[in-house]
């Protein structure tokens, strides 16, 4: 079962209704992501990146179309299976970190393990190892507000890895970080992808992500504009930069 499709979106649409306004955030997205890929979903803000991210992660329901994770239709899952999927199969990283503010770094990292039924001692041991891995071995007992943005995002990465997920979904992981910290986070994600074969799907408008990605999906106005392989990209970097600038 190698190299199969881990995520498949089929004609995914999402419509938000705000009073009488109807906003079509996604207008029919078809996308296939293979196991072990590092994918960046690029696009300006408001293009539907985050909406697509939420659909792929089973965090929101498409208005129309289907999302398959490991060839299982997410819409067909019951509450228990969906929770299992979010707990074990997918790790989430958010632009705003979304750590639980009253909990220490370690408590934040062990929370998904509690939901997975991992015994407390084992959870703490693994939590410390994961925090050590992201370079926060000495900040285990700190609360999120006592940490810098980059450190908070690293706690979030450690938390995303808690139950050894097959997919890490990162929504603008570098969006709230400075250049250098952003680069470190990208390096960390890339290392995960390479060493552990974790599929990384990242919504971003950070061009630094391009270099780490295997494929780049460009989104504009709720549709896929084009999909590029990194191999092709090298020839086009100048063009790309020019376009964005």
């Amino acid at each position: 079962m190698e190299a199969e499709n881990i995520v498949r979106a089929k004609d995914v649409r999402k419509v938000y209704t705000m009073g009488k306004m109807i906003l079509e955030a996604l207008k029919g997205i078809d996308l296939t992501i293979r196991r072990g890929e590092y994918i960046s979903i690029m696009g300006p803000s408001g293009s539907g990146k985050s909406t697509l991210f939420n659909m792929i992660g089973g965090l929101d329901q498409p208005s129309d179309g289907k999302v398959y994770i490991d060839e299982v239709d997410v819409a067909q899952l019951d509450a228990y299976e969906l929770a299992w999927l979010r707990c074990r199969k997918i790790g989430y990283i958010f632009q705003t970190f979304n750590l639980i503010p009253v909990m220490t770094a370690l408590e934040n990292v062990t929370l998904p393990m509690i939901f997975a039924g991992v015994p407390t001692d084992e959870g703490i041991e693994r939590g410390v190892e994961l925090l050590d891995l992201v370079g926060l071995g000495d900040r285990v007992q700190h609360k999120p507000l006592e940490l810098s943005g980059g450190q908070q995002q690293r706690v979030a990465i450690a938390r995303a890895l808690a139950n050894d997920p097959a997919i890490v979904l990162a929504d603008e992981p570098t969006g709230n970080l400075d250049l250098k910290t952003g680069k470190e986070i990208i390096t960390l994600l890339k290392a995960l992808n390479k060493d552990k074969g974790v599929t990384i799907i990242s919504a971003t408008h950070d061009l630094k992500m391009l270099d780490a990605s295997d494929r780049i999906v460009w989104i504009r106005d709720g549709t896929i504009e084009r999909i590029e392989d990194r191999a092709d990209l090298h020839l086009q970097v100048g063009v790309v930069e020019g376009e964005e600038g």
């Binding site: 079962m1 490991d70 228990y80 074990r88 958010f94 639980i100 039924g117 084992e122 290392a191």
Partner: protein
């Protein structure tokens, strides 16, 4: 930062299958009790403030009730006149306490919408979220209303003792006051649980993306 081939593997017990989809565990009640107590403890001061809201409501109710029964006990002839005014006072104090408690519970849960959304992303079941808030609010409700009932009753008794002398003890309306203590604790508990469960249930049944978007 340490990157590279040092990724940690956990024992086989929690090793996940790479294919297909499993079913999330329904955490046992004991685990939920543990988590909710821990959750109250880690936001200790916030819990104290919410608890104080319940405490004040119930203490106010009980002091009004105690005072009115003492007045009736000291002056049985006047009962018809005083009674109407006292009943009115009790009704008002029940209303004040209802609104106070529901408000503090609603606030304490709505400010945690984002947290509920995040917990759902991390694999919490809806029913676990509801169960956790049910337990948290019952602990808070019980603690707040028992202390509130005791303090409200005792302080009013002391006040009346100072103004009306030892007659208060001699003619003390034990039975109705004790009855009202029980009513007040039950009321406090129900209000705290209802005030917390309604928003918690709303948040728990949302898709995580929606719950995390809610700004309070």
């Amino acid at each position: 930062m340490r990157i590279g081939g040092v990724f940690v593997e956990v024992g086989t017990s929690s090793k996940i299958p790479q294919e297909g989809v499993g079913r999330q565990l329904n955490l046992p009640l004991a685990e939920a009790v543990k988590i909710s107590l821990r959750s109250l403890k880690i936001r200790f001061w916030r819990s104290i403030i919410t608890g104080a809201g319940i405490f004040l409501g119930i203490a106010f109710l009980l002091s009004v009730v105690t005072s009115s029964y003492i007045t009736s006990a000291l002056d049985p002839e006047d009962e018809s006149v005083v009674g109407a005014a006292q009943k009115w006072l009790i009704v008002i104090s029940i209303l004040v306490c209802t609104i106070g408690i529901t408000n503090s519970m609603l606030m304490s849960v709505t400010e945690r919408y984002k947290e509920i959304g995040t917990m759902k992303c991390l694999g919490a079941l809806n029913r676990f979220v509801v169960k956790m808030f049910l337990l948290e609010s019952s602990f808070l409700g019980l603690f707040g209303s028992i202390t509130g009932a005791l303090v409200g009753c005792l302080s009013m008794t002391l006040l009346r003792l100072m103004s009306d002398g030892m007659d208060v003890i001699r003619l003390y309306p034990w039975i109705p006051v004790l009855q009202w203590m029980v009513y007040a604790v039950v009321l406090g508990l129900i209000l705290s649980v209802v005030g917390a469960i309604y928003p918690a249930y709303q948040a728990a049944k949302m898709m995580p993306a929606e719950a995390m978007r809610v700004e309070v």
